[in-house]
């Protein structure tokens, strides 16, 4: 059943997808930092308030993925920020996350050599978001 984008249910399903992914398990080996995704508000798209996704990823596993405030996500070791529409493009495979970062469509904060070393892991995380059946607020 489809769940509301960036809700608690969505975060739980996303976590399940990450932990089911053998590709992420292999590519994320050695990763030990928290990642925050900031989803910026777009009231005209029925996404009125910014939200944060706080991901506790460790050594190829998702220990916890939860929805919080944008401020919660900004406290993570790595922070990726984009408006709601961009994240929707990523989760529907319209935008490749790596290209999005190189183009500045997704803004990254954190140690660059580390994130580059784990490019494959971040691509697989993106793949996992595409597997969560999602209800998008702007389509309702």
């Amino acid at each position: 059943m489809a769940v509301q984008a960036f809700s608690d249910e969505w975060a739980a399903q996303f976590k399940d997808e990450v932990n089911k992914s053998a590709a992420y398990k292999a590519a994320g080996k050695g990763w030990k930092w928290t990642v925050g995704l900031v989803v910026e508000a777009e009231p005209d798209k029925h996404f009125p308030e910014s939200r944060g996704l706080v991901m506790d990823l460790f050594d190829g596993d998702a220990r916890d993925i939860r929805v919080g405030s944008a401020g919660d996500a900004q406290k993570c070791d790595f922070v990726i920020t984009a408006p709601y529409t961009r994240w929707k493009q990523v989760a529907t495979k319209e935008l490749d996350a790596t290209k999005g970062m190189l183009q500045g469509k997704l803004k990254l904060k954190g140690d660059l050599p580390t994130i580059v070393r784990y490019t494959k892991a971040s691509q697989e995380l993106t793949e996992c978001t595409t597997r969560v059946p999602t209800q998008w607020p702007d389509e309702q």
Partner: protein, 155 residues
């Protein structure tokens, strides 16, 4: 008696030398990412710093699937990052975003040469053979290509 007045040494601050500057007041996201990556690599690794301190070259990188590029002007210990491709260039690398990221994941092996026999290396070598990774000026500047690869690599 100890002089209570201000001592010139007290005011001296140790400044971190600027390694990377941007030619444009508004560097592109790609320019900032490459500049930031190289600066972090060079500051963290003495071998990369030695390469950086002797490298003099103008390196273009064009990402074919986002139509964006940069020119990296290495001047023996300092790098200026330009938006877009700027002539003249010693070498020019053209590839898709994923391949450019693979280049920065090449391992460096014995004699400081990039490793082309592991998974990432084989992928890069295959892209070269297939023409999906093009390096203009590679043959006459192979030492420069290897040095740039070492500086660029996060491994």
């Amino acid at each position: 008696m100890h002089d209570p007045g201000p001592h010139p040494m007290a005011r001296r601050t140790v400044e971190k030398a600027t390694l990377v500057t941007y030619a444009s007041k508004e560097p592109s996201a790609f320019a900032e990412m490459l500049g930031g990556l190289i600066e972090a690599n060079v500051r963290a690794n003495p071998q990369k710093r030695r390469d950086f301190d002797v490298l003099k070259a103008r390196v273009g990188i064009w990402v074919t699937d986002i139509d964006e590029g940069v020119t990296l002007v290495f001047d023996a210990g300092h790098l200026i990052v330009y938006n877009d491709l700027q002539p003249p260039r010693t070498i020019t690398i053209r590839a898709e975003a994923e391949t450019v990221m693979s280049l920065s994941n090449l391992k460096i092996g014995v004699f400081g040469l990039p490793v082309y026999y592991d998974g990432v290396g084989r992928g890069v070598a295959l892209k070269l053979l297939q023409g999906k990774l093009k390096i203009d000026g590679m043959l006459p500047n192979i030492a420069t290509v290897n040095r740039v690869t070492r500086i660029f690599s996060v491994q």
